[in-house]
Protein backbone atom coordinates (compact mmCIF):
# COMPACT_ATOMS: atom_id res chain seq x y z
CA UNK A 1 0.00 0.00 0.00
CA UNK A 2 1.23 3.45 -0.89
CA UNK A 3 -0.29 6.69 0.33
CA UNK A 4 -0.37 10.21 -0.99
CA UNK A 5 -2.18 13.04 0.76
CA UNK A 6 -4.51 10.68 2.67
CA UNK A 7 -5.21 8.63 -0.46
CA UNK A 8 -4.55 4.93 -0.04
CA UNK A 9 -3.18 3.56 -3.28
CA UNK A 10 -2.60 -0.05 -4.27
CA UNK A 11 0.84 0.67 -5.74
CA UNK A 12 3.03 3.68 -6.59
CA UNK A 13 2.31 3.92 -10.32
CA UNK A 14 0.02 6.65 -11.68
CA UNK A 15 -0.37 8.20 -15.13
CA UNK A 16 1.04 11.54 -16.17
CA UNK A 17 -1.74 14.02 -16.91
CA UNK A 18 -2.67 14.06 -20.58
CA UNK A 19 -1.06 10.74 -21.45
CA UNK A 20 -4.02 8.42 -20.94
CA UNK A 21 -7.67 9.12 -21.74
CA UNK A 22 -9.58 6.57 -19.68
CA UNK A 23 -12.88 7.31 -21.43
CA UNK A 24 -11.34 6.84 -24.89
CA UNK A 25 -9.43 3.76 -23.74
CA UNK A 26 -12.67 2.20 -22.50
CA UNK A 27 -14.13 2.69 -25.98
CA UNK A 28 -11.08 1.04 -27.56
CA UNK A 29 -10.57 -1.82 -25.10
CA UNK A 30 -13.92 -2.30 -23.41
CA UNK A 31 -14.42 -3.36 -19.82
CA UNK A 32 -11.07 -5.20 -19.80
CA UNK A 33 -9.56 -1.79 -19.08
CA UNK A 34 -11.31 -1.67 -15.71
CA UNK A 35 -10.42 -5.26 -14.83
CA UNK A 36 -6.70 -4.57 -15.06
CA UNK A 37 -6.58 -0.81 -14.68
CA UNK A 38 -2.92 0.15 -15.08
CA UNK A 39 -2.72 2.98 -12.57
CA UNK A 40 -3.19 3.27 -8.80
CA UNK A 41 -4.86 6.64 -9.27
CA UNK A 42 -6.08 8.26 -12.45
CA UNK A 43 -4.98 11.79 -13.31
CA UNK A 44 -7.26 13.54 -15.81
CA UNK A 45 -5.99 15.61 -18.67
CA UNK A 46 -5.88 19.33 -18.04
CA UNK A 47 -9.26 20.99 -17.64
CA UNK A 48 -9.64 24.74 -18.23
CA UNK A 49 -12.58 27.03 -17.43
CA UNK A 50 -13.46 27.44 -21.09
CA UNK A 51 -13.33 24.76 -23.83
CA UNK A 52 -10.14 24.58 -25.87
CA UNK A 53 -9.87 23.07 -29.37
CA UNK A 54 -6.13 22.52 -29.05
CA UNK A 55 -3.38 23.36 -31.51
CA UNK A 56 -3.63 22.89 -35.28
CA UNK A 57 -1.99 19.71 -36.58
CA UNK A 58 0.59 18.39 -37.07
CA UNK A 59 0.89 17.78 -33.35
CA UNK A 60 3.53 15.06 -33.09
CA UNK A 61 7.18 14.57 -33.97
CA UNK A 62 9.20 11.46 -33.12
CA UNK A 63 12.74 12.01 -31.83
CA UNK A 64 15.51 9.61 -30.87
CA UNK A 65 14.11 7.88 -27.76
CA UNK A 66 11.16 10.20 -27.46
CA UNK A 67 8.61 12.47 -29.02
CA UNK A 68 7.65 16.12 -29.15
CA UNK A 69 3.98 16.99 -28.77
CA UNK A 70 2.18 20.21 -29.42
CA UNK A 71 -1.35 19.24 -28.46
CA UNK A 72 -2.45 22.48 -26.86
CA UNK A 73 -4.53 21.11 -23.98
CA UNK A 74 -7.77 20.42 -25.88
CA UNK A 75 -10.62 19.91 -23.44
CA UNK A 76 -14.36 20.40 -23.08
CA UNK A 77 -14.09 23.09 -20.46
CA UNK A 78 -15.08 22.91 -16.83
CA UNK A 79 -18.85 22.75 -17.26
CA UNK A 80 -18.89 19.84 -19.70
CA UNK A 81 -16.10 18.03 -17.81
CA UNK A 82 -18.28 18.02 -14.72
CA UNK A 83 -21.44 17.06 -16.60
CA UNK A 84 -20.11 14.55 -19.12
CA UNK A 85 -16.71 13.20 -18.11
CA UNK A 86 -16.79 13.13 -14.33
CA UNK A 87 -19.60 10.54 -14.09
CA UNK A 88 -17.63 8.24 -16.40
CA UNK A 89 -14.32 8.79 -14.62
CA UNK A 90 -16.05 8.05 -11.31
CA UNK A 91 -16.60 4.49 -12.58
CA UNK A 92 -12.85 3.83 -12.64
CA UNK A 93 -11.68 1.45 -9.90
CA UNK A 94 -9.11 3.96 -8.55
CA UNK A 95 -9.12 7.44 -6.99
CA UNK A 96 -9.48 10.33 -9.42
CA UNK A 97 -7.14 13.33 -9.56
CA UNK A 98 -8.44 16.18 -11.69
CA UNK A 99 -5.77 18.31 -13.37
CA UNK A 100 -6.65 21.97 -13.97
CA UNK A 101 -4.98 25.02 -15.48
CA UNK A 102 -5.90 28.69 -15.39
CA UNK A 103 -4.24 31.71 -16.90
CA UNK A 104 -5.19 33.99 -13.99
CA UNK A 105 -5.54 33.39 -10.26
CA UNK A 106 -9.25 34.08 -10.67
CA UNK A 107 -9.59 31.30 -13.26
CA UNK A 108 -7.76 28.86 -11.02
CA UNK A 109 -9.99 29.86 -8.11
CA UNK A 110 -13.06 29.19 -10.24
CA UNK A 111 -11.77 25.72 -11.12
CA UNK A 112 -10.85 24.80 -7.55
CA UNK A 113 -14.19 25.97 -6.18
CA UNK A 114 -16.14 24.06 -8.82
CA UNK A 115 -14.30 20.81 -8.06
CA UNK A 116 -14.37 21.21 -4.29
CA UNK A 117 -17.80 19.74 -3.59
CA UNK A 118 -17.49 16.84 -6.05
CA UNK A 119 -16.92 13.71 -3.99
CA UNK A 120 -15.80 11.79 -7.07
CA UNK A 121 -12.58 13.83 -7.07
CA UNK A 122 -9.95 12.73 -4.56
CA UNK A 123 -7.37 15.43 -5.26
CA UNK A 124 -6.64 18.29 -7.60
CA UNK A 125 -3.46 18.72 -9.62
CA UNK A 126 -2.64 22.26 -10.74
CA UNK A 127 -0.78 22.62 -14.03
CA UNK A 128 1.36 25.76 -13.71
CA UNK A 129 3.16 25.39 -17.05
CA UNK A 130 1.37 28.37 -18.53
CA UNK A 131 1.66 32.14 -18.57
CA UNK A 132 -0.30 34.26 -16.13
CA UNK A 133 -2.01 36.60 -18.57
CA UNK A 134 -2.27 39.23 -15.81
CA UNK A 135 1.47 39.45 -15.21
CA UNK A 136 2.87 37.90 -18.38
CA UNK A 137 5.09 35.56 -16.36
CA UNK A 138 4.95 31.78 -16.49
CA UNK A 139 3.22 30.86 -13.24
CA UNK A 140 5.41 27.87 -12.57
CA UNK A 141 8.69 29.35 -13.76
CA UNK A 142 9.21 31.74 -10.86
CA UNK A 143 8.93 31.07 -7.11
CA UNK A 144 7.43 34.46 -6.27
CA UNK A 145 4.91 34.28 -9.08
CA UNK A 146 3.79 30.80 -8.05
CA UNK A 147 3.58 31.81 -4.38
CA UNK A 148 1.41 34.81 -5.18
CA UNK A 149 -1.02 32.71 -7.23
CA UNK A 150 -1.15 29.80 -4.77
CA UNK A 151 -1.76 32.04 -1.75
CA UNK A 152 -4.67 33.61 -3.57
CA UNK A 153 -6.34 30.34 -4.55
CA UNK A 154 -5.32 27.74 -1.96
CA UNK A 155 -8.30 28.39 0.30
CA UNK A 156 -10.79 27.67 -2.45
CA UNK A 157 -10.64 23.92 -2.03
CA UNK A 158 -10.28 21.56 0.90
CA UNK A 159 -9.04 18.82 -1.40
CA UNK A 160 -5.38 17.84 -1.49
CA UNK A 161 -3.58 20.07 -3.97
CA UNK A 162 -0.74 18.72 -6.09
CA UNK A 163 1.26 21.31 -8.04
CA UNK A 164 2.57 20.00 -11.37
CA UNK A 165 5.85 21.84 -11.80
CA UNK A 166 7.41 22.89 -15.06
CA UNK A 167 10.98 21.82 -15.83
CA UNK A 168 11.43 24.91 -18.01
CA UNK A 169 12.74 27.06 -15.17
CA UNK A 170 16.11 28.03 -13.74
CA UNK A 171 15.66 26.49 -10.29
CA UNK A 172 12.87 23.94 -10.02
CA UNK A 173 13.68 23.19 -6.37
CA UNK A 174 13.13 26.85 -5.43
CA UNK A 175 9.76 26.76 -7.18
CA UNK A 176 8.89 23.54 -5.31
CA UNK A 177 9.81 25.16 -2.00
CA UNK A 178 7.56 28.08 -2.85
CA UNK A 179 4.75 25.66 -3.65
CA UNK A 180 5.15 23.92 -0.29
CA UNK A 181 5.28 27.22 1.61
CA UNK A 182 2.13 28.40 -0.17
CA UNK A 183 -0.07 25.44 0.61
CA UNK A 184 0.72 22.68 -1.87
CA UNK A 185 0.22 19.19 -0.42
CA UNK A 186 2.46 17.55 -3.01
CA UNK A 187 4.38 18.40 -6.15
CA UNK A 188 4.65 16.42 -9.38
CA UNK A 189 7.39 16.65 -11.97
CA UNK A 190 8.62 16.75 -14.62
CA UNK A 191 6.32 18.10 -17.29
CA UNK A 192 7.64 18.04 -20.87
CA UNK A 193 10.76 19.97 -21.82
CA UNK A 194 10.23 22.78 -24.31
CA UNK A 195 11.44 21.56 -27.68
CA UNK A 196 11.49 22.41 -31.38
CA UNK A 197 11.15 20.19 -34.44
CA UNK A 198 12.25 21.76 -37.73
CA UNK A 199 10.06 21.04 -40.76
CA UNK A 200 12.23 18.89 -43.08
CA UNK A 201 10.63 20.54 -46.09
CA UNK A 202 10.81 24.17 -44.90
CA UNK A 203 14.21 25.02 -43.40
CA UNK A 204 13.93 27.01 -40.18
CA UNK A 205 10.16 26.65 -39.99
CA UNK A 206 8.45 24.56 -37.31
CA UNK A 207 6.98 21.17 -38.14
CA UNK A 208 4.45 21.40 -35.34
CA UNK A 209 1.30 23.43 -35.82
CA UNK A 210 1.78 25.02 -32.41
CA UNK A 211 5.35 26.13 -33.15
CA UNK A 212 7.25 24.64 -30.23
CA UNK A 213 6.24 21.57 -28.29
CA UNK A 214 7.17 19.44 -25.30
CA UNK A 215 9.72 16.62 -25.34
CA UNK A 216 8.86 13.41 -23.49
CA UNK A 217 9.92 9.79 -23.35
CA UNK A 218 13.16 8.10 -22.30
CA UNK A 219 15.10 11.00 -23.86
CA UNK A 220 14.22 13.11 -20.77
CA UNK A 221 14.59 10.49 -18.03
CA UNK A 222 18.04 11.61 -16.87
CA UNK A 223 16.86 15.22 -16.64
CA UNK A 224 13.78 14.12 -14.73
CA UNK A 225 15.79 12.10 -12.22
CA UNK A 226 18.03 15.10 -11.52
CA UNK A 227 15.08 17.44 -11.03
CA UNK A 228 13.15 14.98 -8.85
CA UNK A 229 16.20 14.45 -6.64
CA UNK A 230 16.80 18.22 -6.42
CA UNK A 231 13.21 18.83 -5.38
CA UNK A 232 12.85 15.87 -3.03
CA UNK A 233 15.75 17.00 -0.85
CA UNK A 234 14.35 20.50 -0.52
CA UNK A 235 10.68 19.83 0.35
CA UNK A 236 8.96 17.70 2.96
CA UNK A 237 5.75 17.19 0.99
CA UNK A 238 5.45 14.13 -1.27
CA UNK A 239 6.89 14.19 -4.77
CA UNK A 240 5.29 12.48 -7.76
CA UNK A 241 8.21 11.77 -10.10
CA UNK A 242 7.96 11.12 -13.80
CA UNK A 243 9.82 11.44 -17.06
CA UNK A 244 10.66 8.62 -19.46
CA UNK A 245 9.75 5.74 -17.16
CA UNK A 246 9.59 2.52 -19.20
CA UNK A 247 10.30 -0.25 -16.68
CA UNK A 248 10.00 -1.15 -13.01
CA UNK A 249 13.73 -0.48 -12.74
CA UNK A 250 13.20 3.09 -13.92
CA UNK A 251 10.34 3.52 -11.44
CA UNK A 252 12.61 2.28 -8.66
CA UNK A 253 15.19 4.89 -9.65
CA UNK A 254 12.59 7.64 -9.17
CA UNK A 255 11.61 6.23 -5.77
CA UNK A 256 15.28 6.13 -4.82
CA UNK A 257 15.58 9.76 -5.94
CA UNK A 258 12.94 10.62 -3.36
CA UNK A 259 9.63 10.25 -5.19
CA UNK A 260 6.61 8.80 -3.37
CA UNK A 261 4.68 7.99 -6.54
CA UNK A 262 5.90 7.49 -10.09
CA UNK A 263 4.09 8.69 -13.20
CA UNK A 264 4.06 6.80 -16.49
CA UNK A 265 3.33 8.86 -19.58
CA UNK A 266 4.73 8.34 -23.04
CA UNK A 267 5.32 4.62 -22.43
CA UNK A 268 1.54 4.15 -22.30
CA UNK A 269 1.41 5.32 -25.92
CA UNK A 270 3.68 2.41 -26.89
CA UNK A 271 1.79 -0.07 -24.75
CA UNK A 272 -1.59 0.87 -23.26
CA UNK A 273 -1.04 -1.58 -20.39
CA UNK A 274 2.48 -0.32 -19.62
CA UNK A 275 1.45 1.03 -16.20
CA UNK A 276 0.33 -2.42 -15.04
CA UNK A 277 3.53 -4.03 -16.33
CA UNK A 278 5.74 -1.41 -14.67
CA UNK A 279 3.86 -1.82 -11.40
CA UNK A 280 4.38 -5.60 -11.53
CA UNK A 281 8.05 -5.19 -12.38
CA UNK A 282 8.50 -2.77 -9.48
CA UNK A 283 6.79 -5.20 -7.13
CA UNK A 284 9.02 -8.06 -8.30
CA UNK A 285 12.09 -5.88 -7.94
CA UNK A 286 11.25 -5.04 -4.33
CA UNK A 287 10.41 -8.64 -3.55
CA UNK A 288 13.73 -9.78 -4.98
CA UNK A 289 16.12 -7.13 -3.69
CA UNK A 290 14.45 -6.22 -0.43
CA UNK A 291 16.17 -2.86 -0.95
CA UNK A 292 12.89 -1.08 -0.58
CA UNK A 293 10.31 -3.24 1.17
CA UNK A 294 6.98 -2.38 -0.41
CA UNK A 295 5.23 -2.52 2.93
CA UNK A 296 7.51 0.22 4.18
CA UNK A 297 8.00 2.03 0.87
CA UNK A 298 7.94 5.77 1.32
CA UNK A 299 4.54 6.71 2.66
CA UNK A 300 3.18 10.02 3.71
Amino acid sequence: MTALCQLDLAHPIVNGSGTFDAIAARRAFGEALLDDFPFAAFVSKTITVHPRAGNPPPRLWETPAGMINSIGLPNKGLERYLAEDLPQLAELPVPLVTNVMGSTAAEIATLLEALDDRDEIAAVELNVSCPNITTGLDIGADPAELSAVLREVRGRTAKPLIVKLTPNTADVAAVAEAAEASGADAVSLINTLRAFAPDPGRPGEPWLGGGTGGLSGPAIRAVALAQVAAVACRVSIPVVGMGGVQTGQHAAQFLEAGATLVGVGTESFRDPAAGARISRELHDLFAKSGAIDRSTAPNV
Binding site: A53, P58, R59, M67, N69, F269, R270, D271, P272
Partner: protein, 263 residues
Protein backbone atom coordinates in the same frame (compact mmCIF):
# COMPACT_ATOMS: atom_id res chain seq x y z
CA UNK B 1 -14.91 -4.68 -32.18
CA UNK B 2 -12.93 -3.66 -29.12
CA UNK B 3 -9.31 -4.70 -28.78
CA UNK B 4 -7.75 -6.82 -26.03
CA UNK B 5 -6.26 -4.42 -23.48
CA UNK B 6 -2.55 -3.89 -23.98
CA UNK B 7 -0.17 -4.86 -26.70
CA UNK B 8 0.50 -8.52 -27.49
CA UNK B 9 3.46 -10.19 -29.10
CA UNK B 10 2.85 -12.05 -32.34
CA UNK B 11 5.32 -13.93 -34.50
CA UNK B 12 5.87 -13.12 -38.16
CA UNK B 13 4.93 -16.14 -40.28
CA UNK B 14 5.54 -14.65 -43.70
CA UNK B 15 7.07 -11.55 -45.29
CA UNK B 16 6.50 -11.57 -49.02
CA UNK B 17 7.27 -9.06 -51.75
CA UNK B 18 4.39 -7.62 -53.73
CA UNK B 19 5.96 -5.24 -56.23
CA UNK B 20 7.43 -2.31 -54.31
CA UNK B 21 5.63 -3.39 -51.12
CA UNK B 22 6.00 -6.05 -48.44
CA UNK B 23 3.06 -8.02 -47.09
CA UNK B 24 3.60 -9.34 -43.58
CA UNK B 25 1.50 -12.09 -42.04
CA UNK B 26 1.36 -12.87 -38.33
CA UNK B 27 -1.04 -15.38 -36.72
CA UNK B 28 -3.11 -13.73 -33.97
CA UNK B 29 -4.82 -16.62 -32.19
CA UNK B 30 -5.91 -14.53 -29.19
CA UNK B 31 -7.12 -11.48 -31.05
CA UNK B 32 -10.66 -10.80 -32.23
CA UNK B 33 -11.40 -10.61 -35.96
CA UNK B 34 -11.07 -7.00 -37.11
CA UNK B 35 -13.80 -5.15 -38.97
CA UNK B 36 -12.75 -3.95 -42.43
CA UNK B 37 -11.13 -0.53 -42.09
CA UNK B 38 -9.91 -1.05 -38.54
CA UNK B 39 -6.20 -0.69 -37.82
CA UNK B 40 -3.43 -1.94 -35.54
CA UNK B 41 -0.44 -0.28 -33.92
CA UNK B 42 2.69 -2.25 -34.91
CA UNK B 43 6.24 -2.31 -33.61
CA UNK B 44 9.07 -4.77 -34.04
CA UNK B 45 9.71 -6.66 -30.80
CA UNK B 46 13.45 -6.11 -31.14
CA UNK B 47 15.50 -3.07 -32.13
CA UNK B 48 12.62 -0.66 -31.71
CA UNK B 49 13.29 2.15 -29.27
CA UNK B 50 15.84 -0.02 -27.53
CA UNK B 51 18.80 2.29 -27.77
CA UNK B 52 19.15 5.78 -26.40
CA UNK B 53 19.69 7.22 -29.87
CA UNK B 54 17.40 4.88 -31.70
CA UNK B 55 14.39 5.56 -33.81
CA UNK B 56 11.81 4.21 -34.36
CA UNK B 57 10.39 4.80 -30.90
CA UNK B 58 6.62 4.96 -31.28
CA UNK B 59 4.51 2.16 -32.81
CA UNK B 60 3.13 2.75 -36.31
CA UNK B 61 -0.53 2.57 -37.35
CA UNK B 62 -1.49 0.20 -40.19
CA UNK B 63 -4.89 -0.69 -41.55
CA UNK B 64 -5.31 -4.43 -41.71
CA UNK B 65 -4.97 -5.76 -45.28
CA UNK B 66 -6.64 -9.10 -44.60
CA UNK B 67 -7.50 -11.23 -41.61
CA UNK B 68 -7.87 -14.96 -42.10
CA UNK B 69 -7.40 -18.14 -40.11
CA UNK B 70 -3.74 -17.90 -41.16
CA UNK B 71 -3.31 -14.56 -39.43
CA UNK B 72 -3.37 -10.80 -39.81
CA UNK B 73 -1.85 -9.33 -42.97
CA UNK B 74 -0.38 -5.85 -43.26
CA UNK B 75 0.87 -4.05 -46.37
CA UNK B 76 3.99 -1.99 -45.78
CA UNK B 77 6.05 0.36 -47.91
CA UNK B 78 9.58 1.24 -46.77
CA UNK B 79 9.40 5.02 -46.46
CA UNK B 80 11.10 5.76 -43.11
CA UNK B 81 12.79 4.26 -40.06
CA UNK B 82 9.65 2.54 -38.73
CA UNK B 83 8.46 1.01 -41.99
CA UNK B 84 12.06 0.03 -42.85
CA UNK B 85 12.39 -1.89 -39.60
CA UNK B 86 9.04 -3.60 -40.13
CA UNK B 87 9.99 -4.55 -43.71
CA UNK B 88 13.14 -6.22 -42.34
CA UNK B 89 11.17 -8.64 -40.15
CA UNK B 90 11.55 -12.29 -41.07
CA UNK B 91 9.55 -15.39 -40.12
CA UNK B 92 10.02 -16.06 -36.42
CA UNK B 93 10.65 -12.41 -35.52
CA UNK B 94 8.42 -10.82 -32.89
CA UNK B 95 5.81 -8.19 -33.68
CA UNK B 96 4.02 -6.12 -31.04
CA UNK B 97 0.44 -5.35 -31.99
CA UNK B 98 -2.32 -3.37 -30.31
CA UNK B 99 -5.72 -3.67 -31.93
CA UNK B 100 -8.01 -3.90 -33.75
CA UNK B 101 -8.64 -0.20 -33.21
CA UNK B 102 -10.94 2.46 -34.56
CA UNK B 103 -14.09 2.49 -36.64
CA UNK B 104 -14.24 0.66 -39.98
CA UNK B 105 -16.36 0.84 -43.12
CA UNK B 106 -20.14 0.57 -43.28
CA UNK B 107 -22.07 -0.84 -46.23
CA UNK B 108 -23.45 1.20 -49.14
CA UNK B 109 -27.09 0.77 -48.09
CA UNK B 110 -30.08 0.52 -50.40
CA UNK B 111 -30.00 2.03 -53.89
CA UNK B 112 -26.24 2.51 -54.13
CA UNK B 113 -23.30 0.25 -54.91
CA UNK B 114 -19.76 0.33 -53.64
CA UNK B 115 -16.89 1.84 -55.62
CA UNK B 116 -13.41 1.50 -54.15
CA UNK B 117 -10.72 4.07 -54.89
CA UNK B 118 -7.22 3.60 -53.52
CA UNK B 119 -3.79 5.13 -53.90
CA UNK B 120 -0.48 3.43 -53.17
CA UNK B 121 -0.25 1.61 -49.86
CA UNK B 122 -3.72 3.03 -49.15
CA UNK B 123 -5.25 0.14 -51.05
CA UNK B 124 -4.73 -2.03 -47.91
CA UNK B 125 -8.04 -1.41 -46.08
CA UNK B 126 -9.90 -1.64 -49.41
CA UNK B 127 -8.75 -5.27 -49.85
CA UNK B 128 -10.40 -6.56 -46.67
CA UNK B 129 -13.45 -4.42 -47.40
CA UNK B 130 -13.71 -5.75 -50.96
CA UNK B 131 -13.52 -9.31 -49.60
CA UNK B 132 -16.40 -8.55 -47.23
CA UNK B 133 -18.55 -6.94 -49.93
CA UNK B 134 -17.96 -9.74 -52.44
CA UNK B 135 -18.69 -12.36 -49.77
CA UNK B 136 -22.17 -10.92 -49.35
CA UNK B 137 -22.81 -10.94 -53.11
CA UNK B 138 -22.29 -7.21 -53.59
CA UNK B 139 -20.22 -5.73 -56.40
CA UNK B 140 -17.07 -3.89 -55.43
CA UNK B 141 -14.99 -2.66 -58.37
CA UNK B 142 -11.73 -0.96 -57.48
CA UNK B 143 -9.85 1.95 -59.03
CA UNK B 144 -6.25 2.05 -57.88
CA UNK B 145 -3.48 4.52 -58.53
CA UNK B 146 0.29 4.08 -58.17
CA UNK B 147 3.37 6.01 -59.16
CA UNK B 148 4.73 3.33 -61.51
CA UNK B 149 4.41 -0.27 -62.70
CA UNK B 150 6.49 -1.65 -59.84
CA UNK B 151 4.14 -0.19 -57.24
CA UNK B 152 1.15 -1.13 -59.40
CA UNK B 153 1.96 -4.79 -58.77
CA UNK B 154 0.21 -4.12 -55.45
CA UNK B 155 -3.05 -4.12 -57.41
CA UNK B 156 -2.83 -7.92 -57.39
CA UNK B 157 -4.02 -7.73 -53.76
CA UNK B 158 -7.48 -6.69 -55.02
CA UNK B 159 -9.93 -8.02 -57.58
CA UNK B 160 -11.78 -6.25 -60.40
CA UNK B 161 -9.21 -3.48 -60.54
CA UNK B 162 -8.65 -0.66 -62.99
CA UNK B 163 -5.13 0.77 -62.67
CA UNK B 164 -3.71 4.25 -63.15
CA UNK B 165 -0.03 5.17 -62.88
CA UNK B 166 1.63 8.56 -62.66
CA UNK B 167 4.22 7.64 -65.29
CA UNK B 168 1.96 5.57 -67.54
CA UNK B 169 4.03 2.43 -67.11
CA UNK B 170 0.90 0.46 -66.25
CA UNK B 171 -2.79 1.08 -66.97
CA UNK B 172 -4.18 4.57 -67.42
CA UNK B 173 -1.49 7.25 -67.68
CA UNK B 174 -2.68 9.75 -65.10
CA UNK B 175 -4.44 10.04 -61.78
CA UNK B 176 -6.80 7.52 -60.25
CA UNK B 177 -9.16 10.41 -59.57
CA UNK B 178 -9.60 10.77 -63.34
CA UNK B 179 -10.83 7.17 -63.42
CA UNK B 180 -13.11 8.01 -60.48
CA UNK B 181 -14.61 11.06 -62.18
CA UNK B 182 -15.33 8.97 -65.30
CA UNK B 183 -16.87 6.12 -63.28
CA UNK B 184 -19.12 8.48 -61.33
CA UNK B 185 -20.15 10.26 -64.54
CA UNK B 186 -21.26 6.88 -65.88
CA UNK B 187 -23.06 5.87 -62.67
CA UNK B 188 -23.33 8.24 -59.71
CA UNK B 189 -25.43 5.86 -57.62
CA UNK B 190 -22.33 4.86 -55.69
CA UNK B 191 -20.78 5.08 -52.29
CA UNK B 192 -17.07 5.74 -52.70
CA UNK B 193 -14.70 4.02 -50.27
CA UNK B 194 -11.27 5.54 -50.42
CA UNK B 195 -7.83 5.50 -48.85
CA UNK B 196 -4.59 7.02 -50.08
CA UNK B 197 -2.26 9.99 -49.83
CA UNK B 198 -3.73 13.29 -48.59
CA UNK B 199 -3.81 15.01 -51.99
CA UNK B 200 -5.68 12.07 -53.49
CA UNK B 201 -8.16 11.94 -50.61
CA UNK B 202 -8.83 15.65 -50.96
CA UNK B 203 -9.45 15.23 -54.70
CA UNK B 204 -11.81 12.30 -54.03
CA UNK B 205 -13.61 14.28 -51.34
CA UNK B 206 -14.06 17.28 -53.66
CA UNK B 207 -15.24 15.17 -56.66
CA UNK B 208 -17.77 13.31 -54.50
CA UNK B 209 -18.97 16.50 -52.82
CA UNK B 210 -19.59 18.12 -56.23
CA UNK B 211 -21.67 15.15 -57.38
CA UNK B 212 -23.37 14.61 -53.99
CA UNK B 213 -21.96 11.09 -53.91
CA UNK B 214 -21.41 9.74 -50.37
CA UNK B 215 -17.78 8.98 -49.59
CA UNK B 216 -16.15 7.18 -46.69
CA UNK B 217 -12.51 8.10 -46.25
CA UNK B 218 -10.00 5.91 -44.41
CA UNK B 219 -7.67 8.58 -43.03
CA UNK B 220 -4.04 8.27 -42.10
CA UNK B 221 -2.07 10.27 -39.58
CA UNK B 222 1.00 10.02 -37.45
CA UNK B 223 -0.20 8.57 -34.15
CA UNK B 224 1.63 8.08 -30.87
CA UNK B 225 -0.89 5.71 -29.30
CA UNK B 226 -3.85 4.68 -31.49
CA UNK B 227 -6.39 4.63 -28.64
CA UNK B 228 -7.28 8.24 -27.98
CA UNK B 229 -4.67 9.05 -25.36
CA UNK B 230 -2.26 11.36 -27.16
CA UNK B 231 -4.61 13.64 -29.15
CA UNK B 232 -1.92 13.74 -31.82
CA UNK B 233 -3.87 12.47 -34.84
CA UNK B 234 -6.59 15.08 -35.17
CA UNK B 235 -8.18 16.30 -38.38
CA UNK B 236 -10.43 19.36 -38.78
CA UNK B 237 -14.12 18.58 -38.85
CA UNK B 238 -16.67 20.60 -40.79
CA UNK B 239 -18.09 21.96 -37.51
CA UNK B 240 -14.73 23.54 -36.67
CA UNK B 241 -13.76 20.98 -34.04
CA UNK B 242 -10.90 18.52 -34.24
CA UNK B 243 -11.68 14.81 -34.29
CA UNK B 244 -9.27 12.06 -33.32
CA UNK B 245 -8.66 9.80 -36.31
CA UNK B 246 -7.82 6.85 -34.06
CA UNK B 247 -11.06 7.01 -32.09
CA UNK B 248 -13.65 8.65 -34.39
CA UNK B 249 -12.00 7.14 -37.51
CA UNK B 250 -9.94 6.06 -39.27
CA UNK B 251 -12.98 5.69 -41.55
CA UNK B 252 -14.80 9.03 -41.57
CA UNK B 253 -17.78 10.19 -43.63
CA UNK B 254 -16.52 12.90 -46.00
CA UNK B 255 -19.45 15.08 -44.94
CA UNK B 256 -17.91 15.44 -41.49
CA UNK B 257 -14.64 16.85 -42.82
CA UNK B 258 -13.22 20.11 -44.03
CA UNK B 259 -10.53 20.05 -46.70
CA UNK B 260 -7.96 17.29 -46.14
CA UNK B 261 -4.66 18.90 -45.10
CA UNK B 262 -1.45 18.12 -46.99
CA UNK B 263 0.07 16.29 -44.03
Amino acid sequence: MTAPFGRRRLEIAENREVGAYRVMRAPDPDGPAPAPGQFYMLAAADRWGGGEEERPFLPRAFSVLRATAAGLEFMIEDVGPGTRRLCELRPGDGLWVTGPLGIGFTGPGVGRTALLCGGGVGIAPLAIWQDALLATGKEAPALVGFRDASHAEGAALLQAVQIATDDGSAGHHGLVTELLAAALAADPRRVVYTCGPPAMLEAVRAICADLAVPALLALESAMACGFGACFGCVVSAADGSYIRICLDGPVVDAERLMEIPAH
